[in-house]
Amino acid sequence: MAQDLRELMNQEKYAQRPKLAKGHENRFLSRLAEEIPEDKKSNSYLWMKIAAVLVVVLATSFFMKEQFITTSSEVPMLTNTPKESPSITPVYLSDVSPQFKKIEDYYLGNINAELAQLTITKDNKELIDSFMLQLEELDKEYTRLNEEMDETGVNEAVVNSLINNLELRVGLLSKLKNKLGEMKQASKESIQGVKI
C-alpha cells in the first residue's frame, strides 16, 4: 500500500523542531521597547500628571503660607493706592475662627496666584485697572462686612456674604483672564490679517 504524501506531511508537527537561540526573549524585549515604546509614553504622561498636581499643591501651600506670614488679609497686589492699615479694620472673622481663616486663606491665595500671572501691557492696562477698581470695591465691602459682624456678632448671613464676596473676586478674576485671552487672540488675528 502506498502512503499519501499529504497525510505523511501532516505528521510533520511531531517531528523534532529547531530550538530558539538563548536570550531570544531579551532580544525581543529590547526590540519591542524600540518599536512600540508606548508604555514609556504613558508612564511619562502619568509623571506629568503627578508633577502637575504637585505644582498646584505646592503653589497653594506657598501662597497660604505667605498669607499666614503677612497675616494681612488684604490682597497686597490689589492696591496701587496706599494700604489701608490694619487698625481701621480691627476685627476679622478669620481672627476669631480658624475654620474661616482657612477658607479666607484659600481664596486669597488663589486670587494672589491669579494676579501674579497677569502681565500688564499697554493694551490691557485699562482693562486690568478697571478690574482692580472693582476688586478694591469688593475689598472695602469685605472690611465693612467684618466691621458689621463685629457689631452684630457672628451670624450666618454675614459669613455667607463674606464668602460670597471672596467668590465674587475669583469670578471677576476669571472673567478678566478670559477677556485678556480674547484680546490676545484678537490682536494675533489682526496681525495675521495685516500680513495676508
Binding site: 502512503q3 506531511m9 501532516n10 529547531p18 531570544h24 526573549e25 519591542l32 518599536e35
Partner: protein
C-alpha cells in the same frame, strides 16, 4: 488569563501580556520561519519582527481565525519577504508559460519514505515549485491562500503545486529505487 483577555491586554500595549503571548507562540512561529529561511538568525529575526508587526496591527485581528493562524500568516509573509529581499528572483514566476494542468489527485508515494526524506526532496526542488509545495504540504494552505502569500493567481498556485508534486514523486521514486537496489 483567557486568550481573548490576553490579546485585549496586548492591544493596550501591556508589556507583560505581550511577553506572555510571545512565549506562547515563539517556538512554533520560529519553526515556521525556520522552514523557509533555513537560518537560525534570520528565522529569529523574521519571527520577532512578525510579533511586533502583529502587536502593532492587533486591532486588525478580528478573531475570525485563531490568533495562532493569524500570526502564522504574518510570519510566512515576513519570511517570504526576506527570501525575496535576499534573492530578488526567488519567486519570480513567468505565469504566461504556465499552462493550466489537469489536476490529478494522486499523492501516493512509496510506503518506506519518511517525512525527512520528503522534506529534503522538497528542499531540492527548483524554487518556483519549492515554496508553493511547502505552503501546500507543510503549512497546509489552500490555493487561494498560497496565491495571496506569493502574489500569484490561484491557477498558478494549482499548476505549480501539481508540477512540484510530479517532480517530487519522481525524485522519491528514484530515491527508493536507488537506495533499495
Amino acid at each position: 488569563m483567557l486568550q481573548t483577555e490576553l490579546i485585549e491586554a496586548c492591544r493596550q500595549n501591556d508589556r507583560k501580556a505581550q511577553m506572555k503571548l510571545y512565549n506562547k507562540y515563539c517556538d512554533a512561529m520560529y519553526y515556521v520561519a525556520f522552514r523557509f529561511l533555513k537560518n537560525s538568525f534570520e528565522a529569529e529575526e523574521a519571527m520577532q519582527e512578525s510579533f511586533i508587526q502583529a502587536f502593532i496591527k492587533l486591532h486588525q485581528f478580528t478573531g475570525e481565525v485563531t490568533f495562532g493562524a493569524w500570526l502564522k500568516r504574518i510570519v510566512i509573509n515576513k519570511s517570504i519577504d526576506m527570501l525575496k529581499a535576499k534573492k530578488l528572483n526567488v519567486i519570480a514566476i513567468n505565469e504566461q508559460t504556465l499552462g493550466t494542468v489537469e489536476e490529478d489527485n494522486n499523492w501516493n508515494i512509496n510506503d518506506e519514505i519518511t517525512i525527512d526524506q520528503v522534506k529534503n526532496e522538497i528542499e531540492e526542488l527548483p524554487e518556483r515549485y519549492k515554496y508553493p509545495m511547502m505552503l501546500f504540504l507543510i503549512e497546509g494552505y489552500d490555493h487561494d491562500e498560497i496565491s495571496e502569500i506569493l502574489g500569484i493567481t490561484s491557477v498558478s498556485s494549482r499548476t505549480l503545486v501539481h508540477r512540484g508534486k510530479k517532480k517530487l514523486q519522481q525524485k522519491l521514486k528514484h530515491l527508493y529505487h536507488g537506495t533499495g537496489s
